[in-house]
Amino acid sequence: MSVPVSSSPLPPSPGDSSPARPSAVTPRVLARSRASRQRRATRVKLWLGAGCTLVVVVPILLAGLLPLPGPNEQDLAQRRLPPLSGGHLFGTDQLGRDLLSRVLHGGQVSLAIGVLAVVVSGVIGVLAGAAAGYFGGGVDAVVCRLLEAQLSLPLLMMLLLVVALFGPSVPVITLVIAVAQWPELARLTRSLVLVEREKPYIAAARVLGLRRGVILARHVLPNVARPASLVVLLLVAQAVLLESALSYLGAGPQRPFATWGRIISDGQDYITTSWWLITLPGLVIVLLVVGVNLLGDALREATRRGRKADA
């Protein structure tokens, strides 16, 4: 029985003219192996995630250029038109405003808040986590206790309280979400730095007389930045969801600013007669969050495999 060679055969030895060594590991078997299935799943996740994310993000970024009515432009005579009628792809809302336009412009607000919040929380989290992991001792204790204290608080209640105290403006909401998200990144950065600081090149840098702050900034941080940045991507989805939740609960930017949470909150009064008012914005949020999560997952897995291969 002839058995096909494996996909990566050993180079034939010089002078060996015999056919490749028979093996039970067929390409079919290899394709069904766990590693191959994981690789394929990662690829599917990557494409699916990128597709879902782009389907939402690209129109949001181009909302100002698309031939759509303004998000607050009303036509009271055309209220609650169903999708694909009267020239409105997503239909109109209870004030005759184009729902697609509101969803896209609302997405700009939600995404802007999400990205800004993640940038701020990223800076806070990476710096605090790196300092805790590298310096240890008192710094570590302070950062860790702060993390634990914040993680023990109910997140949404805390956000609502802060927004109630300082008013529901975009900067306040951004800052509040940023502060809410820093613990996750700080914990990850700390654990990465703990591993990194024990490596020989750090010891070498110390022997060479570099100061601890310089070692951290020039040698440790660049090496932990990549895995940390992948978590940041996942936090964007979480930030968008938090912003929508705040708007839904009435703690978002003031009207008539369109935000995803408010569009859904307003639309729920018409749930039995105008399904599209909450279904379509909800679908857009689901697409974005699922897309970003799949993308982040896939990139993280790809990076992990890449590191294993390098090792």
């Binding site: 192996s33 009271l76 005579a77 209870q94 009435g250 003031q254 009064d269 018409y270 749930i271 039995t272």
Partner: protein, 526 residues
Amino acid sequence: MTRFGSGAVLDRRSLLRAGLAAGAGAALAPLAACAGPVGAATPGSLTLGLNRSLVSLDNKLNQFDAALTVQRAVRQALTRIGPDMSATPVLAERFEQTAPTQWRVRLREGARYSDGSPVTVADVATALRMYAQVNGSFVVNLFPELPSVTPLGERDFLLETARPVPILDLLMANILITPAAANRPEELSGGLGSGPYVVSAGNGGTGEYTLERNPRYWGTPPPVRTVRVRFVPEESSRVVAIRGGELDVIDSITPDSAEQLVGLPGVAIERVPGTRINQLFFNFRKPQGHPLADARVRQALSLAIDGPALLNDVLVGSASQAEGVVPLALVGAVRTGTYTHDPAEARARLDALGVRDLTLTIIWESGEFPADASVMEAVVEMLRAVGVGARLQQFEPGGDILRWRQGRGGDWDVLGNGYPGPTGQAITSLLGMYGGTPDKERTRDTYQGYVVPEIADQLAVAAAETDAARRAEVLTAAQRAIWASWPCLWAFVPNVVLARRTRVRGLALQPINSYDLAAVRVEEQP
């Protein structure tokens, strides 16, 4: 032999997984019940879903229409407003005017509180004293002056005022009587009263109460044994709850919700013309020189508002545009004018008055009137169409709006507000809104700073006038003067709309958006 690939083999791991999945399924199956309608009606009980939180069962500071229905089921007044807007005795057996400034009252024999103690003259005197001590009280503002109590006997007393108050019997329907020893100037958290129900459980924070039939009630016992009151702020949740039978009555619903409920089996809609006026009221605390301090600017701005579009498309025909400064259904109200929509004229007048780059801050509390947010967002666009910017600031219930209204929280230009007609008389609403004096303004007890001494004087004269014809004449002149001062950007009078399960009978909804809870009965369904 080593086996490659992952064929469908029933190994130990798959068995464990299958077992785990089956276990999780069995454990979570009861949760599926959450997806369906919950809280089917309890026999002999009635559940009300209010759109605003009933912070207490005392009306000193917490006076909105639906709340009164519940508050009056626990505490009672000497009188109540009847279906024909006249005063009907409750705790009073007799309430008669014996002189222009004097009323003789006799307490009902046998009237007693839920603890068995009798209602006394001292309780009435204390109640009036406690209401008088409340800062910014809506109820006290209804009175031209609070009467003094002169006891004549165990059950008889005189109510006396310095000037005549011809509608004192109607006004006293708003003073709920509590035993003197238990009364406080603050809102009362307890529920000791003489009404047909007693409070068996209550939480002012969540606005939820359970009322039980008062076993010592002095009158006819109410047909319903238990009344549950719930605060359900989301209209969609209230609609879903009444559809599923979880709630029996929901009030103050929007036309869109009514549309969803019409024709559903087991649900009926009640509508009556209302005595409440909903206004976009200008801030009258603006300094001289501010554009809004000029009545001509206020009038020009009102031309920007497309009232018919708001009525037909946002309020879906459930309201009518105000044609006076109070609803025409109130006794003594007159037609004073109409709001017209002419954006070109609005811009031209603003230009002529030198008003450019005006931006208004519009504030309101969620749930102040049905479809409030939609009305406000529509108004912003209408103002934008005439070149006037507008910024919206929405307050959630329980927020800071009272401080803002008094000018202590921040600056604003237009307030979305509803004003009820609690006595059915125009004079009460007019005094409450437009009877402000410099003295009252010092404590910020005027209606958004509206202080026009000539109008306040006219209203005071009308309130004290015992001759009906003369009173109507003065009242008409005052209403015309108020209209000419353009206090509102726009105003409308909503119909009172309420939805009930058909098992709920005997619910006589009144124009004052209230009903007698003691008359409501529940029919048990087979």
